[in-house]
């Protein structure tokens, strides 16, 4: 049987599912409710976003969530071909997750934009 890279994508999908399920709703409540309604000031929140641990938190949430999206979207829109060929859709989905992860690693964790 030919080797499949499916377990790798599935693991990232699963990890992203856990991370986004636990962390994303409250993060959205902070950015879309707490800050606009003035419970948290914009400057205070910007200061928080500069904290190295918060930047790592953002990287993990962004990267794994993108891999979660890529895998689930890919499988919902069309099942992968039986030969496991890399179709355009597969490349666009996983490719954009990889690009976003690299951007987040460089410009969120390592250095400024």
């Amino acid at each position: 049987m030919a080797r499949s890279n499916e377990p790798l994508w599935w693991s990232l999908f699963s990890a992203g599912g856990v991370v986004s399920a636990f962390l994303m709703p409250i993060t959205l409540v902070v950015t879309a409710v707490a800050v606009p309604w003035g419970w948290i000031t914009v400057e205070g929140f910007r200061e928080l976003m500069q904290n190295p641990l918060v930047r790592i938190y953002c990287f993990v949430l962004i990267s794994l969530s993108m891999f979660h999206w890529a895998h689930r979207f890919r499988h919902t829109v069309s099942e992968p071909s039986e030969k496991g060929m890399a179709t355009l859709g597969t490349i666009v989905c996983y490719g954009s997750a990889i690009v976003v992860s690299v951007l987040a690693a460089v410009f969120v964790v390592v250095r400024s934009w």
């Binding site: 994303m24 879309a32 948290i40 910007r46 500069q50 949430l61 919902t76």
Partner: protein, 131 residues
């Protein structure tokens, strides 16, 4: 698995494009799968926000854009639906035995819902300290 084209006149079950509107369970399945689009979009929103952290004006503009706030409010129910359906699956993955007895699936799920609540409160509290 049959991979070749059928040349015989075999019956092919019709699959209309609106199949997922025919039953509530099918619809819920499609809604659950659709949540991933909102997860991906919010990840990109957060990426841009985090990248603008050293530019006060752009950061404030991105954070306070009415359009983006409305889109996030629209995304929130989908994110919650993702969290709920995901946590509801935890007992299927985690089968815990206490001696001869299986820990009830509902307890496993309840523990995860509790954990989700606590994690959310901690994150909100940390953000609130800075504001």
């Amino acid at each position: 698995m049959e991979t070749k084209q059928n040349k015989s006149k075999e019956y092919m079950r019709p699959m209309p494009t609106n199949w997922w509107l025919k039953r509530t369970n099918y619809l819920l399945f499609i809604v659950r799968e659709t949540t991933c689009v909102f997860v991906g979009l919010y990840a990109i929103y957060l990426l841009i926000l985090a990248m603008l952290r050293d530019e006060p004006d752009s950061f404030a503009a991105w954070l306070q854009s009415p359009t983006l706030i409305v889109l996030q409010i629209v995304a929130l129910p989908f994110l919650l639906f993702h969290s709920i359906t995901w946590i509801n699956l935890t007992p299927k993955v985690l089968v815990v035995w206490r001696g001869e007895e299986r820990v009830p699936p509902s307890l496993i799920a309840a523990a995860h819902f509790g954990g989700w609540l606590i994690v959310s409160l901690i994150i909100f509290w940390i953000a609130f300290q800075y504001g």
